[in-house]
Amino acid sequence: MGMKLISAKEVTEKVLSDQSLFILDVRNEDAFSDWKIEGKHIEHLNVPYFDLIDGVDEIVDKLPKDSEILVVCAKQGSSEMVGEHLVEAGFKDVFVLEGGMKSWSEYLNPVKISDLKDGGSIYQFVRIGKGCLSYLIKSNGEAIVVDATRTVDAFIDFAKDRDVTIKHVLDTHLHADHISGGRLLQERTGATYYLPPKDAEEVQFDYEPLVEGNDLSVGDTKVTVEPLYSPGHTIGSTSLIVDDKYLLTGDILFVESIGRPDLAGKAGDWADDLRNTLYDKYKELSHDLIVLPAHFGNMSELDDQGRVHAKLGDLYEQNAGLNMEEKEFHRAVSENLPPQPNAYQEIRQTNMGKINPNEEDQREMEIGPNRCAIHG
């Protein structure tokens, strides 16, 4: 059969299915241990491509003879070289990830969360390789996009296919782990871009303030988006309540973990804010709200349709980050934090409009895993 290219979209389908998948990852060991394609039924072998320049003889015993092998590298070129060696060595089902981990990092998988009360719908865009979650809420020909990633074509095409106009774009906070697509979406669609003003003191472009009390609506039907000031991950972090049923928590609360308060200043400064938001402010909300976060950290947070969501009441029972004594909480959010995301300072500067890296540099800045969460 020879070697075939396979897209990030097709790999996503394989990852979410119950099929087993064997991945030969030929990036260097540091890159592999930093982040990789993950899933319940995935088996990995990591051998750097530069050890396989002359052929795959040394690893044939470690590879499955009769099942598919997916070869993965940073950008595709090295896995093609290794893929050709595999075919020469007699392997039949050899796939190469098109665009490598770069396209894996960028691919967005849109999934429908639910229909809304008065005819609208809410969709989650799962950036499976990076753990980012964006949202599109549509109703009667209009849409709001929340926490858009920089690959804005995905949102624009999605809206076009469904004949809706993107009217509002907003970020729940100033992101530190990925480059926001908010400003680009504004430019490309004419939508209004909203940011929490407390996170936007240094931004170099015009925006509308996203503040508590200023509801946004979409479509003629009543789908209101109610901003809820909820500092902690950043000083301006703002949650949204959509259609009285969904709580978009940004990077404050995740399904299996909570946000980290240290990426834009000192952890100690915002630990109290984070504690108040999680242990007081959210607690007063209806526990029937469905939490829709801006990130996931583990594949186990995805349901069988690849969606990330949980009932607020369930999280108060199950999420370790919501069940800590005050001292323990302070320790958890200020000590032994995971490493900070790749290039997070440059990413923040980009999102403030202070620097304008080209697309290639933006890609490099975002490479690597998401590290916005603290797992309790």
């Binding site: 260097n28 060991e29 750097p48 530069f50 070129g77 090295s78 070289m81």
Partner: protein
């Protein structure tokens, strides 16, 4: 910054895996201990060339950026450097040398590594004469000075110390373990 090397490989404009494929091929044609400069524009090449050098036992010296061009410097693995025996009898430890430098005694530190190795980090004020050039440049050194000879692991400096002694230098000491273990101040070009 121009760093003198034995070979320059142009891998500009090539995407992964070609920079490493070409480096590997070029490395085969080098003599042990020789230094290559690899010019590449693929940003991933920096991490990969370090990892490749490590797995092949080669010495990764460093990378400089010149506009969009990355220049990686590697030194080919050399068997002679793994030998443990040092023959020159007069040695000084890194710590002793560091103390001497702190007291401000007027001494000469002679670094006999390749220019690229020297460029990416040397003892402040050290004089650079690669081992291969020492014979022709020996008159740049003053016989009245205390000379402390340093390389990466103490082997090239062992050979250099003997060479100096054979040429009538009486105040020569070989520095062990050398730069690989050096914890004192470092200066870069």
């Amino acid at each position: 910054m121009t760093i003198q090397t034995d070979h320059v490989l142009d891998a500009k404009g090539l995407a992964c895996p070609m920079p490493i494929v070409k480096t590997k091929k070029a490395m085969n044609d080098l003599e042990p201990g020789q230094v290559i400069e690899v010019q590449a524009t693929d940003k991933g090449s920096t991490a990969d060339i370090q990892a490749w050098a490590k797995s092949g036992g080669h010495q990764y010296l460093g990378t400089t950026e010149d506009g969009d061009v990355l220049k990686h410097y590697l030194r080919k693995a050399s068997d002679s450097e793994v030998k443990e025996d040092k023959e020159f009898p007069h040695v000084i430890t890194n710590d002793e040398l560091e103390n001497k430098l702190q007291t401000g005694d007027k001494i000469t530190v002679l670094d006999v590594r390749e220019p690229a190795e020297y460029s990416f980090g040397h003892i402040p004020g050290a004089k650079s004469i690669p081992l291969g050039e020492l014979e022709n440049r020996i008159n740049e050194l003053d016989k009245d000075n205390e000379i402390y000879v340093v390389c990466r692991t103490g082997n090239r400096s062992d050979l250099a110390s003997k060479q100096l002694a054979e040429n009538g230098f009486e105040n020569v000491k070989n520095v062990v373990q050398g730069m690989v273990e050096w914890s004192g101040p470092i200066e870069k070009d």
